[in-house]
């Protein structure tokens, strides 16, 4: 998977600043353009976090509602996408903490969906075990691993979205990998 390209080119950034300025005063066309540019990635990330299609759609909706309401407070000190992803992470975490059933909703349906995209020669049982091991990681480690290793964000982008230092992002991914090695130890030995 290609690395996430959050940073925009200079021209795109100018266009985006113009769209943001128009969206702040209620220009829905500008707001829609911002939405079109960022919603697919935000939805993708929220789905990776929660694993539920309906909830991911709701979270994406909440992210943009909050973002447009808070847009007047956006000072442009960071890239808009970084700010938006921070909103996405905050909204997703708050929702997931409230909805305890989330973990329980990681059902056979999700597993079936995973398997629709199967490729390569990884054993299905092992794939399921890897998914379960990722899900079992502590929240901070799981978010960093999913964003960086699964979804392809750079450590700088992960740091911006999670509100942590870049070094902390690296440390969390390192620790997450260590825990995965430990939980998958038996399987790794057999391979």
């Amino acid at each position: 998977m290609p690395r996430a390209a959050i940073a925009s080119s200079s021209g795109e950034a100018d266009d985006e600043r113009s769209l943001i300025a128009r969206a702040v005063v209620g220009d829905r066309v500008a707001a829609r353009k911002l939405y079109d540019a960022h919603a697919p990635r935000v939805h993708r990330l929220t789905y990776r976090f929660c694993g539920d299609a309906d909830l991911a759609a709701d979270l994406t909706q909440d992210v943009f509602v909050l973002a447009f309401r808070e847009l007047p407070k956006f000072r442009g000190e960071s890239a808009f996408s970084t700010w938006l992803h921070r909103v996405a992470v905050t909204v997703s975490l708050n929702a997931m903490r409230k909805v305890k059933r989330l973990r329980e909703r990681e059902t056979d349906l999700d597993e079936a969906r995973h398997h629709e995209h199967e490729s390569g020669d990884v054993d299905p049982d092992l794939r399921t075990r890897v998914a379960a091991a990722i899900d079992a990681l502590p929240e901070g480690l799981r978010l960093a691993l999913v964003m960086h290793t699964i979804e392809g964000y750079t450590h700088a982008e992960v740091a911006g979205a999670l509100g942590i230092a870049e070094g902390t992002s690296k440390a969390r991914v390192f620790e997450a990998r260590a825990r995965l090695r430990k939980s998958l130890g038996d399987y790794l030995e057999e391979l």
Binding site: G26, R28, D36, H43, F64, R113, I150
Partner: protein, 217 residues
């Protein structure tokens, strides 16, 4: 255990997970946007529209407050004049009925404005099952009118039983409109239509405006 081999195997498993772990379905972007638009921009459709309704609401509230002030000053003046009359042994310069009418005029104007605005709002409500969506301004307008309704109910206007009954019914309908939400709009509009019909509100508003000058506050 060969750490290097484990690391390489883990890389391969995570690479596979990037393709298979919680792979998002195609997002319903248009459906999500329609909700985002309704929720994020509901209070700021046009600055002009909001300004106009706030101004109207403030004007009606101001009329009522002036009415209250004028009524109190007038009543106090009436007492002083009566006392003076008793002392001087002369009849009052203005009859009590005439003074009451003078005191009632600001309330009358405010009530007329309120009823006119409420009639306009109710006429602007889409009918049940209509393809047209309710203007996002309507709940805000209803909230403004609801405030005025309660002020009128607490004023001498509310002392008239017929007007009080009308204001209480309008209070109910305006509260329903103020709570209109895009997601449940259809069901809520049905309830509002039923209330309007059952309580015969629109004809009663027309009748009240016609008879307003005859109300005895």
């Amino acid at each position: 255990m060969d750490a290097e081999k484990d690391e390489s195997t883990l890389d391969a498993l995570l690479s596979d997970a990037a393709r298979t772990y919680r792979v998002p379905p195609a997002p319903p972007l248009d459906a999500i946007w329609s909700q985002v638009e309704a929720r994020a921009f509901v209070m700021t459709p046009t600055r002009q529209g909001r300004f106009a309704w706030r101004t109207l609401g403030l004007a009606m509230a101001a009329s009522l407050l002036i009415g209250v002030a004028v009524g109190r000053v007038s009543a106090r003046g009436d007492r002083v004049a009566t006392e003076t009359t008793v002392v001087a042994g002369r009849p009052p310069a203005q009859s009590p009925v005439s003074q009451a009418k003078t005191a009632a005029e600001p309330y009358q104007r405010a009530t007329e404005e309120f009823l006119g605005s409420t009639a306009l709002l109710l006429a602007a409500l889409p009918r049940t099952g209509s393809a047209d969506r309710t203007s996002t301004l309507l709940p805000e307008q209803a909230t403004q009118l609801l405030t005025t309704t309660r002020l009128l109910l607490d004023s001498p206007v509310g002392a008239n039983p017929r007007m009080k009954a009308l204001l209480q019914d309008l209070e109910l309908v305006l509260a329903q409109v103020a709570r209109l939400q895009p997601r449940r709009e259809s069901a809520e509009l049905t309830m509002i239509s039923q209330t309007l019909e059952e309580r015969d509100l629109v004809p009663r508003i027309r009748s009240a405006v016609t008879d307003l000058s005859a109300f005895d506050y």
